[in-house]
């Protein structure tokens, strides 16, 4: 910051300075009239000189040039006004569009809230099975569920879409079924089914996906019936339970062997001949046992779970006798690599859990999906393992 000094004295000197000046021999400037007359004379003289010069050289005069410039400036100004007007109009359209979009999504937001209705606002009643049937529902055998209540949330949905939410317990597991009155309607939960599988349950085909959350499994099932979309979420601690639920709901019997706890697993020494593969080599694996859990999926799908040790690493292989089947674990391979082991292609993914490395592979063997989990302390163990089972 500059130090301020009083400048009044300097200003005074400057003010009085000029009053003492004369020029061209005069003591004072002369009057305004004299100045004005001189100014007019000079302007006139210059004009004449300009015109003479312009005439000599065939150029436009100064006043003509000024006129042209003035016109140009006028045109430019008009152009600018047009540009400004258009810009303002476009800005207005943009602003109104934005407001429209915001309002539209605000209104839409109310519709979407149907899936998150606070429980206080719901009509919760014990299910009236007959009424549901009269209203044209495809009625799964809901009466088999304990404490079933219906949260009738139809008024909360716009247009042709209505929604029923049915909740109940099934042998200690929780079930929520949403019935959506609109065939085209796709629940946002559809993304769960990209890695799921199709299961035939009697005459119905149900799309199933599952995820694990701590010690609970969440099964999501979706099917369409009578232009209604049925979406079921089933939270259970028993992996096989969902098939029992489907059996009960659809009043059919799918041969099912729910996944037993380890203690109850029928573990047998592996008999290579019984395995539905002829090309894989299991000789190098120690203490191999096979947990044959066939008929776990659909009538067409048989699954073998093969367990064994490879050195100190533990291997679990699921072999699924259905090339159409997409294992739900496929999602692991979104970020995996494609390995080539001689003429075979193996999709591989590795994750670390504590000191352990979990190697996951998926490959197609004799038109069967093989899914391998190898839990190892060695991050490179998977290569010798692959060489071994492929007999490379």
């Amino acid at each position: 910051m500059a130090k301020k000094i009083d400048d009044e004295l300097v200003k005074n000197v400057l003010r009085s300075h000029i009053k003492q000046l004369g020029f061209t021999g005069k003591e004072s400037y002369g009057s305004y009239e004299e100045f004005s007359a001189e100014l007019d004379a000079r302007i006139e003289a210059r004009k004449i000189a300009d015109e003479a010069t312009a005439k000599d050289f065939g150029l436009p005069t100064r006043s003509q040039i000024i006129e042209v410039r003035r016109n140009n400036r006028r045109i430019a100004r008009k152009k600018q006004i047009w540009i400004n007007t258009v810009a303002v109009a476009m800005s207005a359209v943009l602003i109104f569009s934005l407001i429209g979009i915001i309002l539209y999504f605000n209104i839409r937001g109310d519709d979407d809230e149907v899936f998150n209705i606070p429980e206080d606002n719901l009509i919760m009643t014990v299910i009236d099975y007959d009424t549901l049937q009269e209203q044209g529902f495809f009625v799964p055998n809901i009466s088999s569920l304990d404490n079933v209540i219906i949260r009738r949330a139809d008024d909360r949905v716009s247009g042709t879409t209505k929604l029923f939410v049915i909740m109940g317990d099934f042998d200690g597991s929780r079930m929520t079924m949403r019935i959506i009155f609109h065939e085209i309607f796709e629940p946002s939960d559809m993304s769960y089914f990209q890695s799921g599988s199709l299961i035939d349950v009697g005459e119905y085909t149900v799309r199933v996906s599952n995820t694990q959350y701590n010690d609970e499994y969440i099964y999501r099932m979706l099917f369409i019936q009578d232009t209604k979309t049925y979406y079921i979420e089933f939270t259970t601690q028993n992996r096989g339970e969902y098939l029992l639920l489907l059996n009960t709901l659809f009043s059919v019997t799918i041969e099912n062997k729910p996944n037993p706890p380890d203690g109850d697993t029928v573990k047998t020494e592996i008999k290579i001949d019984e395995l539905p593969t002829t090309t894989l080599n299991f000789d190098g694996l120690d203490d191999m046992t096979a947990r044959r859990v066939d008929h776990r999926e659909t009538e067409n799908t048989i699954m073998f779970i093969i367990e064994g040790y490879f050195g100190d690493s533990h291997m679990t292989m699921r072999m699924i006798v259905d090339s159409e089947y997409i294992p739900s674990d496929a999602s692991y391979f979104g970020g995996g690599n494609m390995l080539q082991v001689n003429d075979r292609f193996v999709r591989a993914n590795i994750t670390q859990n504590g000191d352990n490395y979990i190697h996951r592979f998926i490959f197609l063997e004799d038109m069967k999906w093989c899914y391998v989990e190898l839990v190892s302390l060695d991050s490179n163990e998977y290569l010798p393992f692959l060489y071994d089972i492929f007999q490379q």
Partner: protein, 175 residues
């Protein structure tokens, strides 16, 4: 704050009014403009050209530009006049070089009567650099604020203030 804003709007209107009347050929408005600005324009020209004769020559050009020219008028009339004055000096510079000898003769013929204090003032002015001289003229003759000067010549405000007060100190030592 409010009265200041009102005053600014009124000043702006006054400036616009005066210029509009001048452009319409109102002789009274011409006279008023002459009374207000003639002294200050001449002083500015003198200190920029260091010549009474040339200042007088350019003075007519400045008036011609302002009164009859086809320029957009700025909101602030003081700033408009300063810009026209400075432009006129630049335009005249070329002619001046060509006819330097002639001007010198005419300059010598002009009888100048300056007081001792005026001479001392001039002496300091000629010692200042061109930018410093402009800062003094803009602030003292055309009521530019330091912020406006800074915006106009591309210095920072603190730099403008520093240079201004340094010049004032030189003046005070000499006067």
């Amino acid at each position: 704050m409010f009265p200041i804003v009102i005053q600014m709007i009124m000043d702006k209107d006054k400036s616009k009014n005066l210029m509009s009347r001048i452009r319409e050929g109102d002789k009274e408005a011409h006279r008023k403009f002459y009374d207000i600005y003639r002294d200050n324009i001449f002083k500015a020209l003198y200190f920029m050209t260091q010549s009474f004769y040339i200042a007088n020559e350019i003075l007519y050009r400045v008036f011609e530009k302002i009164l009859y020219g086809n320029f957009d008028i700025l909101d602030n009339l003081n700033r408009f006049v300063w810009k026209m004055t400075k432009d006129s000096v630049s335009e005249y510079a070329g002619d001046y070089r060509k006819t330097l000898t002639q001007h010198k003769e005419k300059e010598a013929a002009a009888t100048i009567d300056i007081s001792e204090q005026g001479k001392a003032f001039d002496e300091v002015m000629w010692r200042l650099g061109q930018k410093d001289r402009e800062i003094i003229l803009m602030h003292m003759l055309f009521d530019y604020t330091f912020q406006e000067i800074a915006d106009d010549i591309g210095f920072s405000v603190s730099k403008v203030e520093k240079r201004y007060y340094k010049a004032i100190k030189m003046f005070k030592e000499k006067l």
